[in-house]
């Protein structure tokens, strides 16, 4: 147990150093950006704002202070959990991220579980039938998927299932023109199916190819040869000697893929205009909402870090070789 705590402690220190560096770098980058935050805030009404008003806004936001001082002010409020106010949504950034993340989380969990499960099964199937036709098909399928742009996959699904077959709505998180309290669970589900499906199809390739390779390595080992000599074959052989050896690396890999999951969610949400974090990121970038963008960069870093930490923790807890090194 002590090992685990010191392990987590080291990881958290690392996270803090990364977060600090990322906020400093991001802040420096943004303060050198040619985009004028006041103009981004006011938008099309820029013509109607006089120089005095501009000056007042700048003063109110502290834009006239040196960047170091601005960073210090922003940083000290971030430590207190206040990420500022979003310019385009006019609401606190933390509240925004909280709300959008719940939407995205549903999407990402479904996609993550599905792609992990399907990928794992496909990988096993390919490795068991190595160099026969199922392997060739699965391998070809995975290589093609890895080269497929996520958003194009989304567009294809949209065309087939929403436009042509009309099974699912074309987009948005909830039906248009319906009050929030009238939205049923069925509505939400029908809106989440296509984006989640898009995201999971694209995520399959990595896990499947990795699992296939691992299982091929395992199958060529001597203990498998011995098991075969004892007469074990097929599914029993796989279940007794294969599954445990290949599941851990697959789980680790899948947890470590949070970064790609997030990127995929950005694209899938954009295609289906699903109101999640990804869409908020794009909006913040396009319309120059600096507090929201900064908050999202920090949040997505935390998200990726959580994935990597979970991956490390699971292999630390599950793998007996790592446990045995524990001092008595």
């Amino acid at each position: 147990m002590r090992m685990i705590f010191s392990f987590i402690g080291r990881k958290v220190l690392r996270l803090l150093s990364l977060l600090f560096a990322i906020s400093v770098i991001t802040f420096i980058l943004i303060s050198h950006s040619p985009i004028d935050p006041i103009q981004a805030y006011i938008g099309a009404d820029m013509m109607r704002v006089g120089p005095e008003q501009r000056e007042k806004i700048a003063e109110n936001w502290g834009l006239n202070e040196p960047p170091a001082e601005q960073f210090f002010r922003w940083g000290s409020s971030v430590i207190q959990g206040d990420l500022g106010t979003s310019m385009i949504y006019r609401r606190p950034v933390t509240e925004m991220i909280h709300e959008k993340f719940l939407h995205s989380l549903a999407l990402m969990i479904i996609a993550w579980l599905l792609s992990g499960l399907i990928g794992f099964i496909l990988g096993i199937a390919a490795a068991m039938k190595k160099d026969k036709w199922p392997d060739r098909i699965i391998k070809g399928y995975c290589y093609t998927l890895a080269a497929t742009p996520t958003f194009w996959m989304g567009l294809l699904l949209l065309m087939i299932f929403a436009v042509w077959l009309e099974w699912f709505p074309i987009g948005m998180g909830v039906p248009a023109g319906v009050l929030t309290e009238n939205v049923t669970l069925a509505d939400r589900i029908s809106h989440i199916v296509l984006p989640a499906f898009t995201l999971s199809i694209v995520g399959v390739a990595n896990v499947a190819l990795h699992t296939r390779q691992k299982l091929i390595d395992v199958l060529s080992s001597e203990y498998i040869l011995f098991a075969k000599a004892r007469g074990e074959k097929g599914f029993t052989l796989l279940w007794r000697h294969g599954i445990r050896n290949i599941s851990l690396p697959a789980i680790t890999l899948h947890f470590a893929g949070f970064s790609e999951l997030f990127g995929g969610a950005v694209l899938a949400e954009q295609v289906f205009s699903y109101p999640g974090l990804g869409q908020a990121t794009v909006e913040a970038g396009l319309r120059g909402d600096i507090p929201l963008l900064l908050g999202l960069v920090i949040f997505s870093t935390l998200f990726v870090f959580a994935g990597n930490l979970l991956a490390d923790l699971i292999s630390f807890i599950v793998d007996p070789r790592l446990k045995e090194r524990k001092p008595v």
């Binding site: 567009l155 990127g263 694209l267």
Partner: protein, 274 residues
């Protein structure tokens, strides 16, 4: 039927793929912008012999738009992949040769770049540079090096502990001599393979970021822009607007992947004759 061994096959396949990609690149450059004219008589036509990819809502031929977009994407992808490989090679060599402090700093940098989702970082860089072509190219060029840096660092470290390098050092050869004569030749294949394997990532990210609208202006024929425009017309059943450009992108990415894989097995004697 002449039977070819694996190396000959590899050369043949990579050669043909290269020629196809070059043809797309060149044809996109040669087709003048006049060919993408608005032709209101030929609006919204489904694919036919005169317009293999169909036409859009302004009567522009989708095949020509796709070719132009593809050639631009290939160009941007090449620039991005080439500069990322350069960065990766120099950082990888530095990390392996310049001692523990430099190694620590570079490993930390690699971690730093891998800790933010790639797409979010691209959005951030494009935003900071004020959008446009410049933002996209710089963003792509600056963000694809971390994984290759790790590979090259490991490779150089391994080479340094090799016996012939140790012997060479004991014989009094300079660091420079060892770097040029012993280490660099081993990195040339890494360099090439890295270039072709980074390219698919670069071009997919390029199309993604232009699709999101962070990159180029709507007049430029980039694949991402063509696809994001097509979204508005999908509900009217104009499937060809999205289908063919995306398929082309997929094929080009796959082609580069293929060249990369073939090169990899070509430079690796263990795998070349499998």
């Amino acid at each position: 039927m002449i039977s070819l061994n694996k190396r000959q096959k590899t050369v043949l396949v990579s050669g043909i793929t290269c020629v196809i990609l070059l043809a797309i690149l060149v044809s996109g450059l040669l087709i003048s912008n006049d060919r993408i004219v608005t032709n209101l008589d030929a609006r919204n036509l489904p694919p036919s012999l005169t317009h293999p990819f169909g036409t859009d809502w302004l009567g522009r031929d989708m095949l020509i738009r796709t070719l132009k977009g593809m050639s631009m994407s290939i160009g941007v992808g090449l620039i991005a992949a080439a500069s990322s490989v350069m960065i990766a090679v120099s950082l990888g060599i530095m990390a392996a040769t310049l001692g523990r402090v430099v190694d620590g700093i570079i490993s930390w940098l690699v971690d730093l770049f891998l800790s933010v989702p790639h797409l979010v970082m691209l959005i951030l860089i494009a935003f900071v540079l004020g959008g446009g072509m410049k933002g996209v190219v710089i963003g792509l060029a600056l963000t694809h090096w971390p994984s290759l840096t790790r590979v090259i660092r490991a490779e150089v470290m391994q080479l340094q502990s090799a016996e012939y390098v140790q012997t060479s050092r004991r014989l009094g050869k300079s660091r420079w001599f060892i770097a040029i004569k012993h280490i660099l030749p081993h990195l040339v294949p890494q360099f090439l393979v890295g270039l072709f394997l980074l390219f698919p990532h670069a071009i997919l990210h390029e199309s993604a970021i232009t699709f999101l609208g962070m990159g180029l202006s709507p007049h430029q024929p980039a694949i991402g822009i063509i696809l994001s425009e097509s979204m508005r017309y999908l509900s009217t059943g104009m499937w060809w607007l999205a289908f063919f450009p995306g398929l082309c992108l997929l094929l080009v990415v796959r082609a580069f992947d293929l060249i990369g894989e073939h090169l990899q097995s070509f430079v690796d004697p263990h795998r070349a004759n499998e």
